[in-house]
Amino acid sequence: MSDAAEHHVTLSPAFHKDRRAMRLLGIWLFLGSEVMFFTAFFGAYIVARSAAPVSVVMPLEKLWGALNTVVLITSSLTMALAVLYSKKGDRDRTGRYLALTFLLACCFLVVKAIEYTHHFQDGNFPSHDIFFGFYFLLTGFHGLHVLGGMITLGILWWRNRRGDFNKDYNDPIEIAGLYWHFVDLVWIFLFPALYLL
């Protein structure tokens, strides 16, 4: 057992419960502020899009967007399983699912990089028009969130391997899980808004 896990078991259960509650409140407040962050850009885009003629189809490949949606949904499943097994104290499976989530996040960014390359080759830079301005703004910020999540996942995988977590102490994995699902939620709205409608 590592120092962190050892230190954890010496504290009283009531302290753990309070600390866990505070951590969860903290992450939910953070996620609430993130909702507002994306709402501002997303709302502006939806208004601009609603006013466009019915016949217009946005110049994005639906296939790439759909593929990335499935990748992120799968990563949400693997993250949920990582949290589940961390609560059971199964370190091997927790590590395996954290690593899988990390790999799926890499897949997502690779697909996004391919898409960006195609747009740049076609001369569609953020300054091309408002649609691509919104597109790069929204997907760029979302991509940064994915990158942030990947760094967190990497650290958690390493800490899990070191033995920092056990059946009683796994709050960081649970909190990272909530963040990761939020990143998935943002994409669930971005995909239809940018690629399909």
Binding site: A21, L24, L25, W28, L29, L31, G32, S33, V35, M36, T39, A40, G43, A44, I46, V47, A48, R49, S50, A51, A52, P53, V54, V56, K62, A66, T69, V70, I73, T74, S76, L77, M79, A80, L81, L84, Y85, K88, G89, H128, D129, I130, F131, F132, G177, L178, H181, F182, D184, L185, I188, F189, F191, P192, A193, Y195, L196, L197
Partner: protein
């Protein structure tokens, strides 16, 4: 690990797999909806693209609810955390309603401007 732990672990994993399947199915539905004129299909052709946008966002909202409820365990969260999320969603609603009212009634954002802004 007791037999009961094993069984609850298995049932949770099965539930997650089912929700995953449902999310993929809803993604297929979202893509399918993009090829249909939803307004005409429900007998309200005057709504045009707006009906497609509303339908697409409704499916997205269903997916969002599933992720929140099952993967993010909102069903087990305490009242304070639920309130934080509810408040954020309410603020989002105020933002959307305010912007839509401005767009629809005040006419500060015209279709011609939208065409130009979107590079169409």
């Amino acid at each position: 690990m007791t037999q009961q732990d094993h069984s609850s672990e298995h049932s949770d994993a099965v539930l997650y797999a089912e929700i995953f399947g449902l999310l993929v199915a809803l993604t297929v539905l979202t893509v399918t909806l993009s090829y249909v004129n939803v307004g005409a299909a429900i007998g309200l052709p005057q709504f045009g693209r707006t009906a497609n946008i509303v339908a697409g966002l409704l499916v997205a909202a269903c997916k969002c609810s599933l992720v929140l409820w099952v993967f993010m365990h909102m069903n087990h969260e305490n009242g304070t955390n639920r309130f934080v999320l509810f408040f954020a969603v309410c603020l989002m609603g105020v933002f959307f309603i305010g912007t839509s009212l401005d767009f629809e009634w005040l006419g500060t954002y015209t279709h011609g401007f939208a065409r130009a802004a979107l590079g169409l």
